[in-house]
C-alpha cells in the first residue's frame, strides 16, 4: 500500500510544483484567507492522481497485482489525508506570516475548520469519483466543494457554539470525521469494485 501512495506522489511530482506556485498566488491574492484554500486544494490531489490512473487504465495493472479493492481505494484516501495533514503547518505558517505583515488576524480555528472541511471533502467526493470516474466526478466535485465546505464550516461553527469547550469540540469533530471517513472508504471500495468489474 505504501508503494501505491509513493507511486501517486511520483505521478503528482509535476502537479506539486504547480501547487507551490498556487500557494503563493492564493496568499498574495486573498491574504490570510488564502491559507485555507491551500488545505482544501490539497484535499483534491487524490482526484488528480486518480485522473492519471484512469488515463493509463492503471486499474487493470493494479488488479493484476497483489492488491485488494480496499487497498486500491484506501491508498487514495491516505494520499488525501497525508496531503491535508502536511498542508496544515504550511497553512498555519502562512497565516502567521500574514498576521505579522498586518494582512489579517490569525485564528487557529480557521485552520482547523479547513482541515475538517478537507477531510469531509475527501469522504464525500472520493466515492463519487470511484463510482463515476474522474471526468464526471470533477463536474460534480466543483458543486460539492462549495456545498461540503460551507456545510462543514457551518457545522464547525455551530458545534463550537453549542459545545463551548475547544478541546471537547475538536474531539467531537475528529470523531465525526473519522466515522464518516470509515463509511466513505467502505462505500468507495464497493462502488469502485462494481464499476471496474462490470
Amino acid at each position: 500500500m505504501k508503494a501505491l501512495v509513493m507511486k501517486d506522489l511520483h505521478v503528482l511530482r509535476a502537479t506539486l510544483k504547480y501547487y507551490l506556485f498556487l500557494i503563493m498566488v492564493f496568499t498574495l491574492a486573498m491574504r490570510s484567507a488564502g491559507s485555507i484554500f491551500i488545505i482544501l486544494y490539497t484535499a483534491m490531489l487524490p482526484y488528480t492522481a486518480l485522473a492519471y490512473d484512469e488515463r493509463a487504465h492503471f486499474e487493470l495493472q493494479a488488479t493484476a497485482m497483489p492488491y485488494s479493492w480496499r487497498d486500491l481505494v484506501l491508498s487514495k484516501y491516505i494520499l488525501g489525508w497525508l496531503g491535508v495533514i502536511v498542508s496544515l503547518p504550511i497553512s498555519i505558517a502562512i497565516a502567521l506570516l500574514c498576521q505579522y505583515l498586518g494582512w489579517g488576524p490569525f485564528y487557529i480555528e480557521q485552520q482547523l475548520s479547513a482541515l475538517f472541511s478537507g477531510v469531509m471533502l475527501l469522504a464525500v467526493c472520493l466515492p463519487v469519483m470511484f463510482r463515476k470516474g474522474v471526468e464526471v466526478g470533477r463536474v460534480l466535485n466543483i458543486l460539492m466543494v462549495l456545498v461540503v465546505c460551507t456545510v462543514a464550516m457551518m457545522m464547525f461553527a455551530l458545534l463550537g457554539e453549542i459545545i463551548g469547550n475547544a478541546v471537547l469540540l475538536w474531539l467531537v469533530v475528529a470523531a465525526f470525521a473519522a466515522a464518516v471517513s470509515v463509511a466513505s472508504v467502505k462505500l468507495s471500495e464497493k462502488w469502485y469494485k462494481k464499476r471496474i468489474m462490470e
Binding site: K2, A3, L4, M6, K7, H10, V11, R13, A14, Y52, D53, R55, A56, H57, F58, E59, L60, Q61, T63, A64, M65, P66, Y67, S68, I196, M197, E198
Partner: protein, 287 residues
C-alpha cells in the same frame, strides 16, 4: 496439478457473449490462446484475474478459486503482462521499479536490473515517451522479476520486432524449464504461439473452436490440394475443412484417413486456424 482450470465460464456484454468456456493449463506447460481481435482473449484473461465479474462457471488458479479472499495474495505468484502496458504516463522506470518492489513480496531486484539492461530500457525517460515495444519489454521484465509460478501474457509480443520477439520467447522457454512453472499466452500472431506452445486453444467470437496439443494437432492434420472431382473421391471423414481456390480446392484433412501416396503438406497453425474459422462461418464445425 493444473495451473489453470476453467469450467463453464460465461460472461455477457451487450452484443458479445463469452463462453461457456472450459480450459485447462496443465502445470509445467504453455497454453496458447489464439484468436482474432475481439474474440474474447483479453476478457478471458481479465476474468481469470478476477478483475471482471463472471456470470457463471468457475476458475481455479494454481489450485485456488479466484474469488477466494486469499487470491489477492496469490497474485504474488502470477506474473501478468497486459495487451497494453498500463502505467501513469509521468512515471519513469525507477518509479515503476519502486512500485513493484513495494508491491510484490518476492521482488527480485537483481533479476529486474539484468532484464532492464538486456532490453536496453532507459532509466529516466517518462513512461509516455516509451515506444510500444519498450512498454511491452518493461511489462515483461516486471512479470519475470517477482518469482511467479504462472505467467499470464496478453498479446505480450505484439509490439515487438521479430528479433526481440525471438529473444522474449526464449525467456519464456527458460521460465518453463522449471516444471512448476506454467504460461498462458494469448496472441493473434499464431506463428509466435506455434513456436512456443504445448497446447493451443482457439477462440472465435467468444467460443472455443478447439483445444489441442499443438504438435499432435499439426501432425494429425495436413493440407491437400486437388481438383473438385478429386475432392469428391476423398472419404468424408478425412476432410476437416475446404477452401475453394480459383484453380482448384485446398482442404484441411486428417492425415490418417487419407489414401497412401496422397500429396500432403504439413500445415502451419495459421492454416488450421483460418480453415477452422472460415468453416465455422459456413455453419459446419470441423474438429
Amino acid at each position: 496439478m493444473n495451473a489453470l482450470e476453467i469450467r463453464g465460464l460465461t460472461r455477457s456484454f451487450p452484443g458479445f457473449t463469452l463462453g461457456p468456456l472450459d480450459l485447462n493449463l496443465p502445470g509445467g506447460c504453455i497454453l496458447g490462446l489464439v484468436g482474432q481481435n475481439g474474440a474474447g482473449k483479453s476478457t478471458t484473461i481479465r476474468l481469470i484475474l478476477n478483475s471482471l465479474r463472471r456470470d457463471g462457471g468457475s476458475i481455479r488458479v494454481l489450485g485456488l478459486d479466484n474469488q477466494d479472499a486469499a487470491f489477492t495474495q496469490l497474485k504474488n505468484d502470477i506474473g501478468v503482462v497486459l495487451d497494453t502496458a498500463n502505467f501513469p504516463e509521468t512515471l519513469t522506470l525507477k518509479h515503476i521499479a519502486a512500485l513493484m518492489r513495494g508491491s510484490y513480496t518476492r521482488w527480485d531486484e537483481a533479476r529486474f536490473n539484468e532484464l532492464v539492461q538486456r532490453f536496453g530500457l532507459p532509466e529516466n525517460k517518462k513512461f509516455r515517451d516509451f515506444s510500444r515495444g519498450m512498454q511491452q519489454k518493461l511489462a515483461i521484465a516486471c512479470a519475470l522479476s517477482h518469482q511467479a509460478r504462472l505467467l499470464i501474457l496478453d498479446e505480450a509480443t505484439a509490439g515487438l520486432d521479430p528479433l526481440v520477439r525471438d529473444e522474449i520467447l526464449d525467456l519464456f522457454r527458460e521460465f518453463v524449464a522449471d516444471e512448476e512453472h506454467s504460461i498462458l499466452i494469448s496472441s493473434h500472431i499464431s506463428s509466435d504461439l506455434e513456436k512456443i506452445c504445448d497446447y493451443i486453444a482457439c477462440l472465435h467470437q467468444g467460443k472455443l473452436l478447439f483445444t489441442a496439443e499443438k504438435d499432435a494437432l499439426l501432425e494429425d492434420l495436413a493440407l491437400w490440394q486437388g481438383s473438385a472431382e478429386q475432392l469428391e473421391e476423398l472419404a468424408d471423414e478425412a476432410i476437416v475443412a475446404v477452401q475453394q481456390q480459383p484453380y482448384g480446392v485446398t482442404a484441411l484433412v486428417k492425415r490418417a484417413e487419407m489414401p497412401a501416396g496422397a500429396q500432403l503438406e504439413k500445415p502451419r497453425l495459421d492454416d488450421v486456424f483460418l480453415f477452422v474459422v472460415k468453416q465455422q462461418g459456413k455453419g459446419a464445425c470441423g474438429k
